[in-house]
Structures are given as structure tokens and as C-alpha cells.
């Protein structure tokens, strides 16, 4: 019946709009491109699975449509708002000068643009600040994987004497002394008050809303053959083929969340310091994701590689061979053109980046 079809189409239209609105609200923190422009782009040149020889590989790179939140720390707008305030609040540090945002700064792709992090008293620390982009999909946290959840991770740098230098037994009192926070915690965690657990949960919930830009690569994966240049398409095939990058940089966020020694000239034991008896964990660090990569130099756990060209050269033939070296590392023998194609592909992982609003902090 014509009337029945119209009702159903209208219902689907309303439901789709509602879903898009919900997604827009949740992703508004990073200013993701409007879905409307992406839809318009995909209508121009579609590669359908039936005609696309790369369909099988590409299917592993489809962006998720929802952010996962854990059962024991569900999403709520109040938690996100509170978490964002805490994230930007330098009063959570002993010096009153450092916040999470100091080292995980939205202006620098949620890192700090430095080869090594700088902490309390301007001391230079041992490793580069990782980005928090796409942390919602992370399995394990810190370069050495010592935290199993974002909630556990959040309090670590706050308490660390070299980082924010705020002892946890003082943190709750510091926040409770700021009158506005009392109501904010009650809004986010009714009746529970200000606790270390709630501080961690709200920061983690905010962090989960930080998602990388919708990139030209994503439009290409969705079927728009005009979205990326031919060099980038060849580059993706090299990434997934000859260069073997996908052995570790797998999935839409380009990480297996696993630990590998990639043969860098660094004495840092990495995860091997936590689990000393496993050879393959010596000098092993967590595979980072590659989203918004061109805006997140320098690279590696120690910031020792400044450009992506250096990174490609490292994997091609610049790595140290030792017993702990990952089984997936091998000399690649890439040609000059293949390297250029790889770089062209990596370029497509960055979309339009939008500014992030710094909140007015509580008094």
C-alpha cells in the first residue's frame, strides 16, 4: 500500500535523523565533518564490493558508527561535561600549572608535539605523550600496557611525582574545596559525592568522546573512488601487502593494541620492564594508531623519528636486529616510488580538524 510505504519511509527517515543527531552530539568535541557532505561525496563514484578487488581488505577498515562505553561506566552528558572540566583543570596538579590537557593537548592531536613529555618542574620525562584519540577502542593503556582501562590510566599521571605530582590522598580535598564542583559531581554521580573513582570515571568518559577526524581514507573505504589520489590507493596496497604494516597497524584505527620491538636504537625496556621473562617484550611498546597522523609528529615512543619519511625508512631497512625483534619485522626493499605511495596513503588518514572549546573552569 502506498500509504504504508510512506509511513515506513518517514519512520526510517526520522530514525536516521535521530541517530545522526545523537552521533553529532557525541562526536561534537572533535568537530567531525557533517555526515551530509560525506553522503554527497559517495554518490559521485561508487566502488561496489562486487567490482572492487580490494573489497576484502577494505572491509576491515570501516569506521565504527558508535563509541563503545563500558557497562560499569556508561555514557552520560553530565559525566562528559565534568570529565572535560577535570581534564583541562590545572588545579589537579601539585604546581597548579599542569592538567591532562598540558600533555594531551587538542591543539597537537591530543599529544604535545614534543619528542618526550615534560612534567613537574619542567623535567624531561622518558617517553613521548601518547594521543588520546580513539582511546574508547583501546584495549590497554600506556606505552607499556600497565593500565587495563582508561579509568585506571586517568589517575596515574595525576599521582606521578614526575608528571602532575598530586598525591591521590589530597586530590579529593583539592576538588571538594572548589564549590562549583560539588554540584557537578552530584549531577554526574547522584548521591555519590567526590571520590577518586568518580574523578577517574568522568575523565575516562570525556576521553571516550575524543574521536579522530573523518578522513578521505574513510570516504574511499565507503566507496568513493575520487576521495583519494591513485598514489594513495597504491600506497594502501603496499601498506597491506609488501610493507606488511597491517601486521600491527590493523583495523580502522590502525593498531592491534599489542606490544612489539621494532628495532629502535633505544635502551628503554618498554613492556619488558613489567614482564621481564618474555624475550619478545624487551624493548616492546604498544602499537599506536595512525589516525590524524600527519598532525602528530614526532613519532615513536621516544619521538626519535621526526617525519613520516624517516618512519618509512626505519621500517624499510633502518631497524636493529636483536632476539626481541618482532617476528613481523623484515627488510622491505621498497622502491622510491613505493615509499612515496605509502606516504601519500598516510596523508589520507587525516581529515579536517576542528578546534576544541576549552571550558570555563569551576570556581
Amino acid at each position: 500500500m502506498i500509504q504504508g510505504i510512506n509511513h515506513r519511509a518517514a519512520a526510517i527517515g526520522v530514525a536516521s535523523a535521530a541517530v545522526l543527531c545523537a552521533l553529532a552530539v557525541v562526536w561534537s568535541q572533535n568537530g567531525a565533518n557533517a555526515d551530509a557532505s560525506a553522503t554527497a561525496a559517495t554518490q559521485t563514484a561508487m566502488a561496489t564490493p562486487a567490482t572492487d578487488p580490494l573489497a576484502a581488505i577494505k572491509s576491515a577498515y570501516v569506521r565504527p558508527t558508535e563509541i563503545p562505553f563500558p557497562e560499569d561506566n556508561a555514557y552520560s552528558p553530565n559525566k562528559v561535561a565534568l570529565g572535560k572540566l577535570l581534564y583541562f583543570d590545572t588545579r589537579l596538579s601539585g604546581s597548579k600549572l599542569l592538567s591532562c590537557a598540558s600533555c594531551h593537548n587538542p591543539g597537537y592531536g591530543w599529544s604535545d608535539g614534543q619528542p618526550l613529555a615534560v612534567g613537574h618542574g619542567m623535567q624531561i620525562l622518558g617517553r613521548r605523550s601518547p594521543t588520546i584519540l580513539n582511546a574508547a577502542w583501546g584495549e590497554i593503556f600506556f606505552w607499556d600496557g600497565r593500565a587495563d582501562s582508561l579509568e585506571t590510566q586517568a589517575l596515574g599521571p595525576i599521582a606521578s611525582p614526575g608528571e602532575m605530582n598530586m598525591p591521590l590522598d589530597q586530590l579529593v580535598d583539592v576538588i571538594a574545596a572548589i564549590p562549583d564542583y560539588v554540584q557537578l559531581f552530584d549531577d554526574a554521580f547522584p548521591g555519590e559525592g567526590i571520590t577518586l573513582d568518580n574523578i577517574a570515571k568522568s575523565i575516562a568518559t570525556f576521553e571516550r568522546t575524543v574521536v579522530s577526524s573523518r578522513a578521505p581514507f574513510d570516504a574511499w573505504i565507503a566507496g568513493d573512488e575520487t576521495a583519494i589520489p591513485d598514489a594513495a590507493k597504491r600506497g594502501f596496497q603496499i601498506f597491506a601487502g609488501k610493507a606488511n604494516c597491517t601486521a600491527c597497524h590493523s583495523g580502522w584505527n590502525m593498531t592491534d593494541d599489542s606490544f612489539h620491538d621494532i628495532g629502535l636504537a633505544s635502551i628503554d625496556e618498554g613492556r619488558g620492564a613489567l614482564i621481564p621473562d618474555v624475550v619478545k617484550l624487551q624493548h616492546a611498546f604498544k602499537t599506536p594508531g595512525l589516525r590524524d597522523l600527519t598532525r602528530r609528529a614526532p613519532y615513536m615512543h621516544d619521538g626519535s623519528l621526526t617525519t613520516l619519511a624517516e618512519v618509512v625508512d626505519h621500517y624499510d631497512r633502518g631497524f636493529i636486529t636483536r632476539p626481541s625483534l618482532s617476528e613481523d619485522m623484515k627488510p622491505l626493499h621498497l622502491t622510491g616510488e613505493e615509499k612515496q605511495d605509502l606516504l601519500a596513503f598516510l596523508d589520507t588518514l587525516t581529515g579536517e580538524l576542528a578546534p576544541v572549546v576549552v571550558p570555563v573552569l569551576p570556581r
Binding site: 584495549e139 590497554i140 599489542s258 614482564i275 618474555v278 624475550v279 617484550l281 616492546a284 617476528e327
Partner: protein, 109 residues
């Protein structure tokens, strides 16, 4: 010994031997394509589980579940690592190198 005592002693011997009738089992869990297979098992206290690395990469079977922690160390492809479960409880077992590789083990009395 009179008949009653003999029967009582016989009963005690039978009771004692039936307490050890359950023979501890040995199960195998495979590791392939960076996954444990099966992904969930139930064993009894005293059972032994053999983790077989049928994969192409080194794995590291471990658990950080409180009071059940263990670490079987580096395990090359083609090798087996064994762990005997001595306490009841629910454990999460994970690969220390590939943390998305997880399984659950329920240990019952």
C-alpha cells in the same frame, strides 16, 4: 576384630578411596590467529590446562586476576605451556604480548 568393626573398617576404606575417584583432567587450549580456542572453559581444582601455540608468532599466557595470577613466560610457535589450577575462582587469561587475545577460565571445587 568383630564383624561390626570389620564392616565399619571396610566402610571407612571404601569411603576413603571414593574421595580420590575424581581423576584430575588435562585439557588443551589452542592459540591460533591471535585467539584462544576455546574462548571459555570450566575446570576443577587440580585440573591441568595445556596451552598449545599453534600460531605463527610467540605468545605469553598470563593472568592478572587477583590471587590467581600466573605467567607462563615466552611461548614460541609449536610449543606447549602447562598450568595446574589449584584454587577455585573465575580468571581472565590473556596474552601478555597481544592483549586483545583473551579467554575466561572458571575453576570450581
Amino acid at each position: 576384630m568383630n564383624i561390626l568393626n570389620q564392616i565399619l573398617v571396610a566402610g571407612a576404606v571404601i569411603a576413603a578411596s571414593s574421595a580420590s575417584v575424581y581423576a584430575a583432567k588435562s585439557l588443551t587450549v589452542g592459540q591460533v590467529n591471535k585467539m584462544f580456542s576455546p574462548g571459555e572453559i570450566s575446570v576443577k581444582v587440580g585440573d591441568e590446562v595445556e596451552f598449545a601455540n599453534n600460531d605463527k608468532v610467540t605468545h605469553n599466557v598470563m593472568s592478572r586476576t587477583k590471587s590467581h595470577a600466573f605467567n607462563l613466560g615466552s611461548q614460541k610457535p609449536g610449543t606447549q605451556a602447562v598450568h595446574v589450577f589449584t584454587k577455585p575462582g573465575d580468571l581472565e587469561v590473556r596474552c601478555g604480548i597481544h592483549p586483545r587475545m583473551k579467554m575466561k577460565i572458571a575453576v570450581t571445587e
